[in-house]
Symmetry: C2
Subunit: 168 residues, 2 copies
């Protein structure tokens, strides 16, 4: 797998999610329960394969993530029959420069005290695997594996980036 | 909490999900990764608080669920800014009478051999907690707790069915 093919995969994913404003972020609670909630993505996945979300650092989900960082981010676009599942690891980021970079005025809707509120922070979800379905009438899903090179820093085997057929 | 209020909660949930054909079912893999995939719900939640999905018994997700039965089912309706998270436990059900009851001819799209294929089975997700957001502009989510009476058979405390404010 070449760096170019990773970039192609990221471009493909960006195209799939760019018009879906809200995704569902699923976290695991210590008792094993899975909870999800709508989150506004900025419609982008950066070149490191990270998705960024604004959050309150004191929120329940941050507490959950600090104990169990594995998460799922799902994007659903029923009108276009497009569904994306992203598996990754989430991490709280309090970098004020990054907050300044990603902040948009409309986020005041959720963070009325604005970006300088010390409780305003970021969640970075580092993409490890993505699957997508571009028609629910099909049983075919596509898997893109990022874990080897993006997370471990090692190059992935060529076989890691493949299309596979899911049985339902 | 009276049985009536449970029924009211189920009615509320049914109203929220009835027009959302595809939800995302999130399962946990043994290595801790969370995966989701689109699933067609039959648009109903039965009087026991169960959601039913058709599946191939030999599928990966059934294997995952048999090891780790806790799942999340999320419904997203971006046009109406409506989002629902259902936490529950999933179980494979091979009851042929139930398969006959729930089968619809259009399911042949995913199960070309039809309902008599021995690999065709059902997944029952027993609802334990539901949360919903009827506007993403709000930070208010609503929690409906079903675990006490529907899963354990005991009556829930009145305080279990409440509206709470989520911080992001």
């Amino acid at each position: 797998m070449t760096p170019q093919s990773h970039e192609d995969d990221l471009q493909k994913l960006r195209g799939l999610v760019k018009d879906i404003d809200f995704c569902m972020l699923t976290t695991v609670v210590e008792n094993g329960h899975l909870h999800s909630r709508p989150m506004s993505s900025n419609g982008d996945i950066d070149s490191n394969g990270s998705l960024w979300f604004f959050t309150n650092a004191s929120s329940h989900k941050v507490n959950q993530i600090e104990k169990l960082p594995k998460v799922n981010v799902s994007f659903a676009d029923p009108d276009n029959q497009r569904y994306v599942s992203i598996s990754g690891s989430a991490q709280l980021v309090r970098d004020r420069n990054k907050i300044d970079e990603l902040w948009r005025p409309e986020f005041k809707m959720w963070f009325p005290k604005g970006k300088d509120d010390p409780d305003v922070a970021l969640l970075r979800v580092s993409l490890e695997q993505a699957e997508y379905w571009d028609s629910p009438a099909s049983t075919i899903g596509y898997v893109l594996n990022f874990v080897s090179s993006l997370v471990s820093g090692k190059e992935a085997d060529t076989g890691d980036n493949r299309k596979i057929s899911f049985s339902r």
